[in-house]
């Protein structure tokens, strides 16, 4: 039986169970002396849950373990040389056996052991499936009957249903936590594997990035120095912040303090469009428009500017985070109480004097928080630098030259054809861990500052 069909049957059964519960509670209510504790629908739901959920759990458990159980069951039929063969060969053999077992067949003459293994496999599969169906049916019926019998006016069906729903809600909110835990654990786990190849000292303080191709067996693995990548990241981010901070801040000030209503309601969403554009689009924009423009500009004034350089990537990234800086700063500037502005204006300060001397100092903590968030975004940005920074992991301080960054290198190391267990791939996780720690630090500090700031004026 198809899995989808099975789930459908289960759902339909639950529908019926609901109806039974509903009918039963009504008849109990009609015959009994007192009022029912809950509305009839809750009894229906309770019956449906008891009928369906245990069966569903069995189904999910079996589905999760079925492939492994079946695999294990046929292993004994395989000749020793196949079992001891490496993973892919074993998989081919198993795939053949599965095909024979399912009746699809193989194009050549199957070996004797394959036929026997296939026979065994389909037997295991059948008994497994049958017992699963049986168990599901028993559980379903048992749940249905027992719950129906429990329906009395005193049964607190609503509370029971609600606690199930609440458990579901809790489970959902745990996912976000598990994601963080997953990120941290997987990052640390894989990075630890990497550090078994390369010493952390060489990684964190190495000034040369030159990983060789992954050739298993040769001692030569190349050099994995983080510094050039980190420096590239910082250089690009600095350029980005040099663009985004002044433009974003001035935009925010203008929008919050000067712009007439129509301009504000027109320009604010348009500028925020910049934040919604996918980064790959910015990367392409940098590659085909901004890079050549800077290159041409460099030729005109006699400086050698590469089309793909820290400058190109940084400028485009700066454009990308303008709305980020401006809308956060705008929020924060607007939160500065009007009383503060009035105090200054009432003394005869001009608007710009008020903004520079009173509003901005008052908003400073929040704005610094916004800058930090923007910086964290710049550091973690990937596609723009992949396309426009030139990918040259060499330590230098010239923004007109190509650089490489942490994120670019992560992409390069994981999209090649290298073996996942080689240091060339694993280094991506060490880099990812570094990136995660840096951005997390920035975010925590920034969010803390912004939160404190909000509380100050609430």
């Amino acid at each position: 039986m198809n899995n989808w069909l099975l789930v459908c049957v289960l759902l339909i059964t639950m529908g019926f169970a609901y109806q039974f519960g509903l009918a039963r509670s009504k008849s109990v209510a009609a015959g009994g002396p007192g009022r029912m504790h809950s509305r009839p629908g809750y009894y229906g739901l309770l019956v449906a849950l008891w009928c369906g959920v245990p069966a569903l759990a069995v189904f999910m458990l079996w589905s999760a373990f079925e492939p492994n159980i079946i695999r294990a069951s046929v292993m004994e039929y395989l000749p020793a040389e196949v079992v001891s063969a490496d993973g892919s060969q074993l998989n081919v053999a198993l795939r053949r056996i599965e095909n024979i077992a399912s009746g699809f067949g193989v194009s050549d003459q199957p070996a004797e052991y394959e036929l026997r293994a296939a026979e065994r496999m389909s037997a295991v599969q059948q008994t497994g499936r049958l017992s699963m169906y049986g168990l599901m049916a028993v559980l379903g019926v048992a749940g249905l009957v027992l719950t129906l019998r429990r329906i009395t006016p005193n049964l607190r069906a609503r509370n029971q249903v609600e606690s199930v729903v609440k458990a579901l809600l809790v489970a959902c909110s745990a996912i976000a936590v598990f994601t963080t835990v997953g990120i941290v654990l997987s990052m640390i786990g894989e990075a630890t594997k990497f550090f078994s190849f390369v010493s952390p000292l060489d990684f964190f303080f190495g000034t040369v990035w030159n990983p060789r191709f992954s050739t298993v067996g040769t001692g030569d693995q190349g050099q994995f120095g983080l510094i050039p990548l980190l420096w590239g990241t910082i250089m690009v981010s600095i350029v980005a912040m040099l663009i985004a901070v002044p433009v974003g801040l001035m935009t925010a000030i203008y929008m919050a303090e000067y712009a007439p209503g129509w301009l504000r309601s027109m320009a604010k969403p348009v500028i925020e469009v910049l934040a919604g554009i996918p980064t790959i689009v910015y990367g392409f924009f940098a590659l085909v428009t901004v890079g050549p423009f800077f290159h041409g500009l460099g030729q005109m004034i006699g400086i050698d500017i590469r089309a793909t350089s820290a400058l190109t990537a940084g400028v485009v990234m700066g454009i990308m985070i303008i709305p980020f800086v401006s809308s956060l700063s705008d929020d924060i500037i607007t939160q500065v109480p009007k009383a503060m502005r009035d105090g200054s204006l009432g003394l005869g300060a001009t608007k710009s004097e008020t903004i520079r001397n009173v509003v901005l100092p008052a908003a400073l903590p929040g704005i610094v928080g916004a800058f930090l968030l923007a910086a964290s975004r710049a550091i973690g940005e990937t596609m723009i630098v992949v396309l426009a920074a030139g990918n040259s992991p060499v330590l230098h301080a010239n923004p007109f030259e190509a650089v490489s960054t942490v994120t670019v290198t992560i992409v390069n190391q994981l999209t090649g054809d290298t073996d996942f267990a080689s240091p060339q791939s694993l280094v991506a996780f060490a880099l990812g861990l570094t990136l995660f720690v840096i951005t997390l630090g920035l975010n925590v500090v920034a969010l803390y500052i912004v939160r404190k700031y909000r509380e100050q004026y609430e």
Binding site: P337, G346, G348, N357
Partner: protein
């Protein structure tokens, strides 16, 4: 209550030293304020005399604060607010295009309802205005202005040892006196006070009231208050506003003892408001 009022009036009697013939500092003729389409103030005519303390009283929403804010054009900062009519300072129309609002506000200072010290040191709070307007050219001059203003605001002894600490760290009453000192530091000709004590406790209120009486020697003061006893205690003349109209203005003693208008009488005897 009755007793208190009597006593306050007796105190006020003494301060009515300036004769009724004193110079007119500001005048308003048919001043109207619109918020969008709605008229909030219906043609106010009022003279403010030099060196007097003029109190605006009236139930909330009567337009007294709105009118006060017209006097140094703080209403400009409110979107959709429009002022018509004529308001003059020393015979100059303050809504005239040629008049610079910066200069106007330097001459007509303002103290607000809630103490609003800047997030700066006490010293910088006071020095802010003089610095902006270039009133002190040297550090020594500035020091002097700060000290003089704080002394005038009766705050000097309390803060002279911690001038570099943030103004926001002071108590509410101290903050308000700091704001008054801040306004005084620019040496304005008129000081507008918008319910300066409404956020303060009674002791702080008493201090600020005393301060107002002292300042009246050198400044023209217009004060909005919802507290009639306060008006009686500190002001020479009182104007009563009701529903956007200036109902009556007269010497404080007259307003509280023999109001001409029924509405004024109802208000001061506590029938509404």
């Amino acid at each position: 209550m009755e007793n208190n009022l009597q006593r306050s009036l007796a105190a006020a009697e003494g301060t009515v030293g300036v004769s009724a013939a004193a110079k007119i500092k500001m005048t308003a003729r048919d001043a109207r304020v619109f918020y969008g389409e709605k008229e909030a103030l219906h043609g106010v005519n009022l003279d403010i005399r030099e060196n007097e303390v003029l109190a605006f009283i009236g139930p909330s929403g009567c337009g007294k604060s709105t009118f006060l804010r017209c006097l140094n054009r703080m209403n400009d900062t409110i979107d959709g607010c429009r002022v018509t009519g004529k308001i003059e300072l020393d015979g100059e129309d303050i809504y005239d295009r040629s008049l610079d609002v910066v200069l106007l506000r330097a001459r007509v200072g303002m103290v607000f309802q809630k103490p609003n010290p800047f997030p700066k040191s006490i010293y910088d709070n006071i020095a802010y205005g003089p610095k902006l307007h270039g009133l002190a050219s040297t550090r020594a001059e500035l020091d002097e202005v700060v000290e003089r203003s704080l002394i005038r605001a009766g705050l000097w002894d309390e803060v002279k040892d911690r001038l570099d600490q943030p103004g926001t760290g002071l108590s509410g009453g101290q903050q308000q006196r700091l704001c008054i000192a801040r306004a005084v530091a620019v040496s304005p000709e008129v000081i507008l006070m918008d319910e300066p004590c409404s956020a303060l406790d009674p002791i702080a209120t008493a201090k600020v009231e005393q301060l107002i009486t002292e300042l009246a020697e050198n400044f023209t003061i217009v004060i909005v208050t919802h507290n009639m006893q306060q008006a009686a205690r500190v002001s020479n003349r009182t104007a009563f506003f009701h529903l956007g109209d200036l109902v009556e203005v007269d010497d404080t003693t007259h307003i509280f003892t023999s109001p001409k208008d029924k509405r004024t009488e109802d208000y001061i005897t506590g029938r509404f408001g």
